[in-house]
Symmetry: none
Subunit: 414 residues, 2 copies
């Protein structure tokens, strides 16, 4: 079964809102094994919506619209979709009565245009909307199916979960499903990942595809099959093989973030970590504490933005800063040691660098970041030159600190 | 001038990522007076991308693609767009050299496929990408224009700002435009904002519309006009009137975040702040240091996740924790005082609460958060019960701490 999603709304074309509904529906459809080959977004314009719907209905088995079911004149989906389906609209007296009661209760006067929301397909039926006034609409005619859904997420999401999914499930009984698994890789670039997996990436089912993220790579393995079990069976071989080839660079699977993987490793080994951050300004501590249960491995950290704070809170010797500058190998190491000692933990992480946009010099340009991990056996320390603006440098620094901490944990575990 | 945006990526069709890039580009185009009549999303499939591009090029003056410029085999935009434009690709030796230097610097092995990123239009030119390896591509042939942009937002956003906007501006002088201004409001709910602005919201040009965000409200005022000056003239009256009615609840305009507004206020008054965070785990410090130049007002902070860290680093008396618990009015105040004294600043902010999912009790449920601001005249302290999951509770806590700090700054400034 093949589907297209048509999002309707001038505010989408003007970029005033981000279309999270379409992403949500796309995900639901892929899990049901329904292929989405295209998504289209048009404004509140009857001609252009009609053209998009004609094309979508010609090329697909089922078409979804999102938005344009409101009571105002620029809500055009109901009438335009009915015409595109070769159908007409009839008034549903039950819905009309409920609309009248709704407005009476709120002591708001109901207008004629509000009653348009009681119009439903002659060939089809309404989908209940307990969270708003506009019902969803199921059109069924001449072997084609179209489903119109409301735009507000508070109405859209429950309608998808409570009505669209059961409806589709009842019709796609045997047609299959799509299942995806993700391997998450750090400390290895996208092209090297690809080189190791090139032959696996030739496969059509399951597909194997790497995606570059900030400081990490995700490999997604996606299978289509009649049943979930069959899809999982198809995935198992390539998943295990990819994991074998990428070795310890695979830090986690599916939804596990790098910080969650590091917290898990620390927990498994009964070890603890503390942070001493300058240019990342708390971002690393924030990421660690994003993980539920991180308090078992993370007593806390220090954000030492000023030199005085580095000395006071992390016991960095003022002479060291005077001799080497705050952004230096020596100060990164001292911050990591200070965090480790002050918070009585197994690992201390120190980060000091130039995040920009100001503060760079020819010798110490924006993007220069020293990161150190202090541990029982000494210190690991690295100089990095990260590209991008302030937020990129900060994000990459926190990411790389987690990579270094994980590397140390793996080395100690051998 | 008429444009279409074609987003490329199987991840988008599967709903695994939300297309924020397309919304951003749409907004930029509308501000330049370029009409977007349709947006299309297709997967990493050459045939379907080619069909979408042929249709888009036939119906529009300019076509933008987003994504699919990476080095791997499923990055197909470069070649497919060249074919659709009737153009070929040539190797740019300068870009090839820079790619080689990039990989040498990172001590990563460069593969043949990396060099595909040095291919540029024969009729057209590359758009520089200082934040990644793939340049953008400008194709110009037979009166049609196509611009290919990279998918990672950290590369996409700067390229749009630094290259696409100037390029389009140089070609669209004189046609109509849409201009938007935003008032950012804190410490006041959406319905109250709406009540104060109800009559202004009746206007058709400019439109005035409030949007609820996490812990704040944005009021967007949008005008259409022939020239930018005329649009700004239309906006000026309602903007000033809305600002008058909302008073000091307006913390900033347009892109200014709440943390940027607070840093600005502190700078204007020559004052400083430090943080003592428990449940937010560094998120407040991270938000403050997101602001360029925040080092002038923020020497640092402490993330005291454990009780020991609260006592050691923020001088919270152990007896206080024993008597009232770590999540209490008394401990929030002591943390704020400790941050203020330890870091020698004008304001100390203390946050302690239950972020969940574990750790809640009937008396101290998930979402209970105490926030204190310590200042020369004493302490402000408030009990909050935030709804939502762990990340919601953390985000709302950091947001409300900034609101309280701003309130204190305004009260002291009177």
């Amino acid at each position: 079964m093949r589907a297209e999603i048509v999002s309707v709304g001038t505010e989408l074309l003007l970029g005033q809102i981000v279309d999270t509904n379409a992403a949500c529906l796309a995900q639901v459809l892929s899990e049901l094994g329904i292929s989405v080959y295209r998504r289209t977004t048009v404004g509140d314009n009857p001609q252009r919506l009609a053209a998009a719907l004609d094309q979508a209905l010609a090329e697909n088995d089922i078409v979804f619209t999102i938005g344009g079911l409101g009571p105002t004149d620029d809500d055009i989906t109901r009438e335009t979709l009915a015409r595109a389906m070769g159908d007409t609209l009839r008034r549903d007296e039950e819905i009309a009565r409920r609309l009248e009661a709704f407005f009476r209760l709120r002591r708001v006067q109901m207008t004629e245009s509000n009653l348009r929301q009681a119009l439903v397909p002659t060939h089809g039926r309404p989908l209940p909307n307990p969270n708003g006034t506009a019902p969803g609409l199921l059109f069924e005619k001449d072997g084609k199916v179209a489903i119109a859904l409301p735009g507000p997420p508070s109405e859209f999401l429950p309608m998808v979960a409570d009505h669209v999914v059961p409806l589709l499930r009842s019709r796609t009984g045997g047609i299959g499903t799509i299942r995806s698994r993700v391997l998450r890789i750090c400390d290895m670039g996208e092209s090297l990942v690809e080189e190791r997996l090139r032959d696996l990436m030739q496969s059509a089912n399951p597909t194997v595809a790497p995606y570059a993220k900030t400081g990490e790579v995700h490999v997604r393995i996606t299978a289509r099959a009649d049943t979930l079990e069959e899809a999982e069976r198809l995935i198992a071989g390539p998943l295990a093989e990819a994991e074998r080839r990428l070795g310890s660079h695979v830090y986690g699977r599916d939804e596990e973030s790098l910080e969650a993987a590091v917290v898990r490793l620390l927990k498994e080994r009964g070890l603890t970590v503390a942070t001493g951050e300058s240019c990342t300004g708390g971002l690393l501590a924030k990421r660690i504490t994003d993980v539920p249960g991180s308090s078992a491995v993370f007593p806390g950290g220090v954000v030492s933005y000023s030199n005085a704070a580095k000395c006071d809170l992390l016991a960095v010797p003022p002479d060291l800063i005077a001799a080497h500058g705050a952004v230096s190998r020596e100060v990164a190491v001292a911050m990591a040691q200070g965090a480790r000692r002050r918070l009585h933990v197994d690992f201390g992480v120190g980060i000091t660098g130039v995040a920009g946009p100001e503060g760079g010099t020819p010798e110490k340009p924006v993007g220069l970041v020293w990161i150190a991990v202090s541990h029982a056996g000494g210190e690991d320390v690295e100089e990095n030159r990260f590209a991008g603006g302030r937020q990129d440098v900060r994000a990459r620094s926190a990411q790389y600190a987690l990579v270094m901490l994980r590397r140390r944990l793996l080395a100690d575990g051998d």
